[in-house]
Symmetry: C2
Subunit: 367 residues, 2 copies
């Protein structure tokens, strides 16, 4: 059974002032996704300490599931390698394999790994980076070949949106029947994820998953920002800039699971061969909002929020645009959308803040 150790802030809502005050502590000018990984540092340490050299001179394989462009992987990979090297000598090679869907920008990832001063390749020997361009809802690795798995802020992306969402783009705002279809897809995807990892992990290996989550009430704490994005899109429809059919197809294919939903496959036996050693829900400070509260710079805050939204969610939304749109007409539409979103954020910065929930898990493959 998972040990749920909620922090003091678990049940705080988006507007709870207690959360906001934590902002200074986390004021590191980093993205929310980056912030999230720091909560799981103790779990990563435990997982890395469990890694032993495989038999027969085989490399240790670390899998980074859902790496995106790698920015938020450098730190945890470097920490994990450092811990492994305390007990496993340099003569045992370590392969780090970053996975994501084929459309990911692997050039950016490889360039960062090769060139960044923060790369895990600095100051270590016998470490080799690779990538796999395949969804983690499929098998990626040979059986029993992965010694350590890591996945940060990735498993909330579903294999696909199971339905369109009438009048909105964000699944928590869907009608009950549509929301239920998202929940079913989410449950199936999470079981698939675990089944494939169970096959790939070596006996006794550990997997750390930091999942974009909701609290037990289903609140992911991003509804404010998502309502603003949705309103900006609907305004474009009303103005005739965005087709009603295009808007209708727009959906962010994510589902932020509750702790109970994350824990379910371990409890009901469908996560065959895997045990949930530890699970904890944390509520993240919003580093963008925290900076605004220190500087009072509303323009910078709104621009940062729009930038975050643009990087994380725009590609999903704008993939719904009619294929016949010219690049110029796409660009002008994106610009108008961002202007509309920025204006709404600036009008109510508190409501735009996102105290994302993350559920961090330490999972073990049976030895």
């Amino acid at each position: 059974m998972p040990e749920n150790n909620p922090t003091e802030s678990d049940n705080s809502g988006r507007d709870a002032p207690g959360i906001m005050r934590r902002g200074g502590f986390y004021n590191r000018h980093s993205l929310p996704q980056h912030e999230a990984a720091s909560y799981a540092e103790p779990l990563l340490r435990q997982a890395a300490e469990a890694v032993a050299a495989p038999p027969g001179g085989q490399p240790i394989v670390i899998a980074d599931y859902g790496a995106a462009q790698g920015r938020n992987s450098l730190d945890p990979m470097r920490r994990a390698i450092g811990i492994i090297r305390r007990s496993v000598p340099d003569t045992v090679p370590i392969s780090v394999v970053h996975t994501d869907i084929p459309a990911d920008d692997f050039s950016a990832l490889f360039t960062l790994i090769e060139n960044s001063p923060d790369s895990y390749l600095r100051e270590v020997a016998n470490v080799f980076p690779f990538a796999a361009g395949r969804t983690f809802y499929k098998r990626i690795f040979p059986a029993a070949s992965v010694s350590l798995g890591w996945s940060a802020i990735a498993v909330h992306w579903l294999s696909a949106a199971p339905a369109i969402i009438e009048g909105h783009v964000w699944s928590p705002r869907a009608d009950p029947a549509t929301l239920a279809s998202f929940a079913r897809r989410s449950a199936r995807d999470w079981r698939d994820f675990l089944a494939h990892r169970a096959a790939e992990l070596r006996p006794g290996a550990r997997l750390v998953v930091i999942g974009g989550a909701s609290d037990e009430a289903g609140d992911s704490a991003a509804n404010g920002l998502m309502d603003m994005a949705n309103a900006a899109l609907r305004e474009l429809v009303a103005a005739g800039c965005l087709g009603a059919d295009e808007y209708r197809r727009m959906v962010i294919p994510t589902y932020n699971r509750t702790p109970a939903e994350f824990a379910a496959p371990f409890a009901d036996g469908t996560a065959s061969g895997l045990r949930l050693l530890h699970g904890q829900l944390d509520v993240l400070a919003d580093p963008i909002l925290a900076r605004y509260q220190e500087t009072g710079d509303l323009d910078a805050f709104a621009a940062s929020c729009v930038g975050f939204f643009e990087a994380a969610f725009e590609p999903s939304l704008f993939s719904a645009l009619a294929p016949g749109r010219s690049p110029d007409r796409r660009r002008s539409l994106e610009t108008e959308f961002r202007d509309g979103l920025r204006a709404r954020i600036a009008a109510d910065p508190q409501a735009a803040g996102c105290n994302w929930r993350v559920y961090s898990m330490l999972i073990a493959k049976d030895a």
Copy 2:
């Protein structure tokens, strides 16, 4: 010592009619790079037949060095896997790792592998694709981990151009001192390539390299096309569209080695631990020119030649453009260059044909 088995066409020049008549035979609507790999099919077969299951249930690793976007890798990888599976059961996993420089389009590669009906993933089990984003002039894999290496039409790309080329962009047109600097860089790069592969290959493993080559006289048979490209660029300089400094920096960082240059490290002992079992020089038919000779469609021929040049060489040349150029000004310059190249090709199609030389090698790591 290498066994050089020149074909009947080895010493034929670009304009030799005997070569052109072979065009019908190779009329498969494929790129010259694709064509090249077919010459090495017997070598690939021998190499794949030498693959045995590694001890301890480890995966068989096939390395595809310099894969580009993967189009020309599907066929040889599928053949190799088919041959390996005759002696190695499905229970032994096979990992196929495609390598290229970080800037490569790995998304295109992964998408092709996942979706193409020609992918080696069709009709086989327990095969896993990966990528490595690192130059093959460095170590890419853990020691003694690769069971089969393959590299097709990639090693003529140098680690970097060692010098600019006065008045031209193509190293065979350089003055003797500059050409010598390319030859030195080429020799060093080839030794580096072999040294790293020697470290990565398992004892007894095979490596097949199909190298873009020159004949023993140093003729790569592309001088006609390259002269046209150079003339088109100089015309843009004269017209004031391309800066003289930009043109001066333009260089295609390749060197097509002679058979003797390819064989040298094996003869002088610097390819430590590797033996050249077989080397052969072939002269390729030009599939684009062959199609033109069948159809008489000059416009289609010129367009295909420009397309080939654009894909293979334009990125190198246009990386020299001033960083301050706007995307629009880059695009218009590229269009003007292609128009100028197309006109020159159409005016003398025979001279634009490229009967590329390839030197194919079967290399063994000492057991």
